[in-house]
């Protein structure tokens, strides 16, 4: 298909599939959602729409070395405590404590399920899961994703691999499925479903990565670069309400190579030090809790050191003995194998030399921060029939692997409750035709078209976001005027998206990925503009409003009008369910 | 040519069907047929083979090689055996002329008829001076010398 050039829309076959529950995105949350659905009701038709191949798709493609949230009851951990901790990590929030609680309650179940499925989890002498940190447990998760995928398939979910979702099917107010195209077979897919769960992961590649200057390593990112926020974008285009996008996640990564630092620092107690050899957290952040400081402080710390002339910054791996160093790298092989290769390619012995660290580009990831869809306790978004789980669902941060999986199951439960009540309305062919036209437009323009190649636009967007909307090269700092400027450019790009062309189906996918990124970026900037304060330095550093504004102790929400395309930003109040000092975990 | 060093290995696939001989235009002038020569080789009677007069009758027409059901390269072997014979001085007397001829070419790259004549003459012991003189005269009359 990709070989021959299609000139005419009618040449493209349309595949219409009817199902009960559609799951967009077969990652962690998606697989769990499917499994839950089929176990609750085996007769249910469950369809997973997966852009890649389910066995190695999404953020877990390379594997995982730890499940960051597990409650050791024997250590007196409770869902409440986890939520408190999570709230404190967010500098006191606001977070959706109702969501976080419901999630925390089934967290252990989910993890135990994973072990039963064949995920090796390290146990300590007591036969309990071995902790490394307060909630982290070590796993040997090289096969984590394949295991999840197999279970979802065994359960009997229909998997559409290599089908990229492009838009939701909307019937009046309600979502009745989604549309997309086959990245391999080039067909146009219309999947009609009583209920739809969006679990497409977060948004990566909105900003320029600090490592992109090197050829062949544009995707040196922390988040999976193939998660481009399609889930958010589809919701935004459909007029769904988004929350807290301004909570941009930035991670501390090893320099030059986006390797994980938490594993090293949290898991193995190698502290962050600066060029002068001072322990950064103790020196600069004692007032907010030192090593225990809220996450955004930690994540922003290294970049601040650079900014204030105390770079370079390191994690001090010299405290490790060779045995630990080996264990450490074994863990890394599970999560980011090439980081181990990277160390080898520097030829350094980490027990003798510390590993350099640096900030990453900002991401929108609802599994880590609170950004994403605004959902009810049943995980239904503001669009009836559309549910969100994992990184896609906002409000409850620090979900990570276990939490996202659990939320997949919760979303399914919500969806099952919903789809009992509804039936499928007849298809609206006008909407389908219009979308088909939109989807294949870049492809029909063909490779010879005098227009814009998706990669060009992607890089343009990433640079402008980096410079105007507080990217890593600007040390995450921003101000009103720059954000307005960013918005101006994004609008221009959105106009010029008409000029995107694609020679192959893969390029067509890239084209839609960049279009999706534009939607997310636009709304994101609106959020950043609205929060005229600096509540989470690093994630959201307003040079023009450096202080916390108590009036903004609330959720910032946005809705984009599907007709006019103009974005309305408003707030929702924060409800504290778990009493006590919000900043104490 | 490989065979020159060792003509033997290739001959064992021969099944003695005799097609080489029956197809051979000259075999019947000879006491040996090509089949027999090959047989000698199979039996390790190298000298018999090497001395066989057939070798020098063979016209290299390849009829045998073409007809052989076992792909034995009969003609090639005959050629090889000739060289053998020469190396091992099995070559029969009346071949001296070719030798002289060969040596001359090797030495000078050309033939001097006079010298060839003389050497030839010397080979004939006892000498026949009168006949030679007459022959010489005739040749000179016709401008051959």
């Amino acid at each position: 298909m990709s070989a021959k050039i299609i000139k005419n829309l009618d040449e493209i076959p349309t595949e219409i599939i009817e199902t009960d529950l559609l799951i967009i995105g077969g990652g962690n949350a998606g697989c769990f959602a499917a499994y839950e659905a089929k176990t609750q009701n085996p007769s249910l038709r469950v369809t997973i729409m997966e852009k890649a191949h389910i066995s190695r798709s999404g953020a877990l493609a390379a594997g995982m070395d730890a499940i960051n949230t597990y409650l050791r009851e024997d250590k007196g951990e409770t869902p409440e405590k986890l939520v408190k901790w999570s709230r404190a990590q967010m500098g006191g929030g606001p977070i959706r404590e109702d969501l976080a609680l419901s999630n925390a309650e089934i967290l252990n179940e989910t993890v135990d399920l994973l072990e039963e499925w064949g995920l090796p989890i390290v146990r300590d002498e007591g036969g309990q899961y071995k902790l490394r940190g307060r909630y982290d447990i070590s796993i040997q998760g090289e096969q984590l994703k394949p295991i999840m995928a197999e279970k979802a398939m065994e359960a009997g979910a229909q998997v559409l691999n290599r089908v990229a979702a492009t838009n939701l099917l909307i019937e009046g107010e309600r979502c009745i499925g989604a549309m997309g195209f086959g990245v391999r077979d080039g067909k146009f897919y219309v999947i009609r479903a009583k209920a739809t769960i969006v679990s497409t992961g977060g948004a990566c590649g909105i900003y320029k990565s600090p490592v992109t200057d090197y050829s062949g390593s544009h995707h040196q990112t922390w988040m999976c670069p193939f998660n481009v926020g399609t889930g958010y974008a589809m919701g935004i285009r459909a007029g769904a309400e988004m929350t807290s996008l301004e909570q941009r996640w930035v991670a501390v990564r090893t320099k030059d190579f986006c390797g994980p630092v938490d594993t090293i620092a949290v898991g193995y107690g190698c502290l962050m030090i600066n060029g002068k050899g001072e322990r950064i957290m103790e020196e600069r952040y004692a007032h907010v809790g030192g090593e225990k400081a809220p996450r955004f402080f930690r994540l922003n710390a290294p970049m601040n050191e650079w900014l204030e002339g105390r770079g370079p910054t390191y994690v001090d791996t010299r405290v490790l003995d060779p045995e630990e160093a080996k264990d450490l790298r074994t863990d890394l092989l599970n999560e980011r194998p090439t980081f181990v290769l990277f160390l080898a390619s520097l030829g350094i012995d980490i027990t003798k030399e510390p590993v350099e660290i640096y900030g990453s580009d900002p991401y929108i990831v609802g599994g880590h921060t609170g950004s994403g869809y605004w959902v009810g306790i049943d995980r239904m978004t503001t669009v009836p029939g559309l549910f969100a789980a994992g990184e896609a669902a906002g409000g409850s941060p620090n979900k990570f692997v276990g939490g996202c999986g659990s939320e997949g199951r919760l979303a399914t439960r919500g969806a099952l409750g919903y789809l009992k009540k509804v039936s499928l309305p007849p298809a609206d062919s006008a909407q389908v035709e219009q979308e088909k036209k939109r989807v294949f437009a870049p492809f029909l323009r063909g490779p010879e078209f005098d227009g814009i190649n998706p990669v060009e636009m992607e890089e343009r967007l990433q640079r402008l976001m980096d410079e105007y909307a507080g990217g890593v090269h600007q040390f995450y700092r921003m101000n009103e005027e720059r954000l307005v400027q960013a918005l101006k450019h994004i609008r221009k790009l959105q106009d010029q998206a008409e000029l995107l062309y694609a020679g192959e189906l893969h390029d067509l996918m890239s084209a839609h990925e960049v279009i999706d990124r534009l939607n997310v970026a636009e709304v994101l900037v609106h959020h950043l503009l609205f929060r005229k304060e600096t509540r989470w330095p690093g994630w959201q550093t307003r040079m023009d409003y450096p202080e916390v504004d108590p009036k903004l102790d609330c959720f910032v929400e946005s809705v984009r009008d599907p007709k006019t395309g103009e974005v309305k930003v408003f707030t929702r109040p924060y409800e504290q369910l778990i009493p006590g000092d919000r900043t104490k975990g | 040519m490989v065979l020159a060093e060792d003509p033997i290995p290739k001959v064992f696939s021969c099944v003695q069907c005799g097609r080489c001989s029956s197809g051979c235009p000259v075999a019947f002038e000879s006491v040996h047929t090509p089949r027999k020569v090959i047989r000698f080789l199979q039996m390790g009677l190298l000298e018999e083979a090497g001395k066989s007069p057939f070798l020098w009758l063979c016209a290299m027409c390849q009829a045998c090689t073409v007809r052989c059901p076992r792909r034995v390269e009969v003609a090639e072997i005959m050629l090889g055996l000739r060289r053998w014979g020469i190396e091992r001085k099995w070559v029969r007397k009346d071949l001296w002329y070719y030798m002289v001829f060969k040596e001359m070419i090797e030495k000078r790259g050309k033939i001097s008829e006079l010298r060839l004549g003389l050497v030839a003459a010397l080979h004939k012991i006892p000498l026949h001076p009168i006949e030679d003189a007459i022959l010489f005269f005739k040749l000179w009359r016709r401008g051959k010398i």
Binding site: - | C17, G18, S22, C24, R67, R71
Partner: protein
């Protein structure tokens, strides 16, 4: 999803006559197994005949205290079968029992330290235990099947085989491409050694199958497609029109008289090349016949056939003449479908086209003829003085046919005898390389030898030259006397060879049946002639290779015998067939490619599915899968992996190498077993796992072994081309090579993986092999993954 059953394993160690306790401390072994997971009972007993333990085990089984049994030790086969029976009676699936013979692994062999032997024994038991935990109950499969056979080819083989199958009460569909049955044999005039008429044998077969009424004969018919699987093939055939209604035609001959069109008689006997007509004119005075004529080669069915291409336009004479309205000039080709449990191929042979052997001038000189033509000439020979026969004309000749057709010598002798009967005065020259009259055919040879004026000349002519008087000049060397002969012959007969009949290649392609380099249908191995590579499809007769009539018929029957299991109404399958884990399968089709029996097909979603009836359960698919998603019923990937994981590679200390051997159950395993039985010292460093075929070893197993620090992996399979499953050993070798290259990259000695061919009685060699390998590994140093 299937409910999870918690395994409850009972380990029973049979210390036959204290043999085990002499070698190892059983008490310690049992005590070491105390902590083993999922084990509810562990006992040592030394009297098999005492009611215990069997009865108590039966109780435990019934009470659900046990659901898997691991027998350790050496059991007499008969006793073993009885135990299986007794426990099956107690409700235990036979596949939930595991047998772990410590002695065949070398326990109690050679004078090795008791403690070391005990440790090895424990590891062996733990390996078996790990496997036992993962055992699953299996049920044999029964597939309903058709009790009809399809026979392709109505020659002497096809007819006789059909008749015999009909006798057995099987329905037979027999299809023949010619207009009548009989094949080549019908074209012969005499059969040796009796010099009798072959038609009587054919007639006999025909009457037999007439009587049975269970044989459907379809002439002018060829196979178009074959679908389905053994026991349930469905075959589509195409039937060419004969323009005469077989039901109505009474073969009265009116039409023939009426027919205005005379044509050259076709192959009443087969002729090579384009000279058939000439052959007719010269040797067959009435070489003409009508466009409508009898079926041939044998006028059975006894109805006529019209060669439409010869009919004059608009001519309907035959139709007018026919008293029974049998002529139907509007007939067209039709398609039929048969359901058959098995397919027999008896497509026979064709004469080698002697026109290719240019030096003998066949087709150029009218009086150079083939031995088949001679069949008829010798029947009514013209006036002849000197006749030459050239044996191996084009045969045993690298330029043409490299094999011996095995019948030509006898045929020539037969023809000489026959000719001399009719024309005693004829002088015959027989040019030959060797006269091959094996068995009783020797008698023929002696009879001919006793005749005078028959000269055997050991030596073949090279060329044939014509003479003015129409005779042939042939020169040959009599290799005995070395004398040159110069002969003048009236007739030269070329004894040409046999080649697979026309259309064999197409058929082979259609049935996916392998052919040998000469195009004859392949038998599997000398030791397994019964195994064609396509289950339920067998070739018999001359399409398997040159053979005479007797052997053809026998071969046909043999073939029929081998496919009988698929003609019995049900196909029974052992439950150890391959199972694919579709959640892992990536549709890469490697299993499909590497299956020696082409038993995989695609399901609706493009997943490969094994056709269980075709499958021989060799497990080559298990080895082929890069995602190890294929397992055999009683040989699952997880079972093997668990066994490997149970091996403690360090149990002899880091320096002392440990070898894991994968032994093919056909040859290598018996060799190892034999080694133990003949008391050879088997070093404690080696553990073996029995596999269905070397080809069933997945590289992942080797990776596991190396990962767990095992120093060397020995793969023992059959000799090349001797693999019971055709090519398992080649497959595993190529996989191993591929892995070796990777190991090199990983800075691991590729010698740590080794393939060896073992023959079934190579016991001594097995021991030497293992011992030397261990020494070699010791030099190499420990596997870097060993801890």
């Amino acid at each position: 999803m299937i409910p999870k059953v918690i395994p409850k394993v009972g380990i029973f160690i049979y210390d036959a006559g204290g043999r085990l306790s002499r070698a190892i401390d059983l008490a310690e072994v049992v005590q070491r197994l105390a902590k083993a997971k999922n084990v509810t009972r562990r006992e040592v007993f030394n009297n098999l005949e005492a009611p215990d333990p069997i009865s108590s085990i039966q109780e435990d089984l019934r009470a659900g205290r046990l659901n898997r049994i691991l027998w350790v030790g050496r059991f007499p086969d008969a006793r073993r079968r009885r135990i299986e029976g007794e426990l099956t009676a107690a409700g235990l699936n036979p596949y939930l029992q595991e047998w772990c013979d410590l002695e065949e692994q070398g326990i109690g062999r050679g004078d090795f330290d008791r403690a070391v032997q005990a440790q090895k024994a424990i590891i062996l038991i733990q390996m078996a235990l790990a496997r036992t935990r993962l055992l699953a109950p299996l049920m044999p499969l029964e597939i309903p099947a058709v009790d009809a056979a399809l026979i392709i080819g109505g020659g002497v083989t096809g007819l006789h085989t059909a008749a015999s199958l009909a006798d057995l009460g099987k329905k037979v569909f027999l299809i023949e491409k010619e207009s009548g049955v009989g094949g080549k044999v019908a074209a012969l005039r005499r059969l040796y050694p009796l010099i009798c008429d072959p038609h009587c044998g054919l007639e006999f077969a025909l009457q037999k199958l007439e009587k049975s009424g269970r044989v459907e004969i379809h002439t002018l018919t060829r196979v178009k497609t074959l679908a389905g699987s053994p026991g349930n093939f469905s075959v589509r055939v195409e039937k060419q029109p004969r323009y005469v209604d077989e039901q109505k035609c009474i073969a009265c001959g009116e039409c023939i008289t009426a027919c205005p069109k005379e044509i050259q008689a076709g192959n009443t006997f087969p002729l090579a090349g384009d000279f058939s007509n000439r052959g007719q004119q010269v040797w067959n005075p009435n070489g003409l016949e009508k466009a409508i004529h009898q079926a041939r080669p044998l006028a059975y069915p006894s109805t006529y056939v019209i060669e439409r291409q010869h009919c004059p336009p608009e001519c309907r004479e035959c139709q007018k003449a026919c008293p029974t309205r049998a002529v139907e000039l509007e007939q067209t080709a039709s398609e039929l479908e048969f359901k058959a449990g098995a397919v027999l191929i008896a497509t026979g042979w064709d004469p080698y086209p002697l026109t290719r052997v240019e030096e003998y001038g066949y087709g150029v000189y009218p009086n150079v003829v083939t031995n088949l033509e001679m069949e008829h000439i010798s029947e009514e020979p013209p006036d002849l003085q000197e006749v030459g026969f050239i044996q191996c004309a084009g045969s045993r000749d690298e330029r043409y046919l490299n094999y011996c057709s095995s019948v030509c010598c006898s045929i020539t002798l037969k023809q000489v005898l026959h000719l001399k009967e009719k024309r005693p005065g004829v002088r015959c020259y027989i040019f030959y390389q060797d006269i091959r009259t094996s068995g009783f055919d020797e008698e023929l040879y002696q009879r001919v030898k006793s005749l005078d004026q028959v000269i055997f000349i050991r030596g073949d002519p090279a060329t044939v030259k014509p003479e003015e008087n129409g005779r042939l000049r042939v020169r040959a060397e009599d290799t005995f006397s070395g004398k040159e002969l110069d002969l003048h012959l009236d007739l030269l007969v070329l004894a040409g060879g046999m080649v697979p009949s026309e259309g064999s290649r197409e058929l082979a392609h259609l049935l996916k049946l392998p052919q040998n380099s000469y195009g004859f249908f392949e038998a599997h191995l000398p030791c397994h002639p019964e195994e064609s590579q396509r289950t339920g499809i067998r070739a018999g007769g001359a399409c398997r290779g040159p053979m005479n009539v007797v052997h053809s018929i026998e071969s046909g029957h043999r073939a029929a015998f081998d496919v009988l299991p698929f003609l019995s109404g049900t196909v029974r399958l052992e439950p150890t067939y391959p199972v694919l884990n579709l959640t892992k399968c990536d549709k890469c089709k490697r299993c499909m490619e590497e299956c020696p029996y082409a038993s995989f097909y695609f399901d609706g979603n493009g997943f490969p599915v094994p056709d269980l009836a075709k499958c021989r359960q060799c497990g080559n698919c298990v080895g082929s899968c890069p995602l190890f998603a294929v397992s055999l019923g009683h040989f699952t990937v997880q079972q093997v992996a668990s066994q490997i994981q149970a091996i403690k590679s360090g149990f002899l200390g880091k320096e002392e190498p440990v070898v894991l051997a994968f032994l093919c159950k056909n040859d290598a395993y018996p060799a190892a077993k034999g080694a133990a039985e003949s008391g050879l010292p088997i070093p404690p460093n080696v553990f073996f796992i029995k596999v269905p075929c070397a080809g069933s070893i997945n590289n992942a197993f080797i990776a596991d072994a190396l990962g767990f620090g095992i120093d060397g992996v020995l793969i023992a399979g059959c000799q090349d081309d001797q693999c019971h499953y055709v090519k398992g050993n080649q497959l595993v070798k190529t996989r191993k090579e591929n892995l070796a290259e990777k190991l090199q990259k990983m800075v691991i000695e590729p010698q740590r993986v080794r393939f060896e061919s073992l023959e079934i009685r190579d016991s001594r060699r097995y021991v030497d092999l293992v011992t030397s390998y261990i020494a070699e590994l010791k030099k190499m140093g420990p596997n870097p993954f060993k801890t």
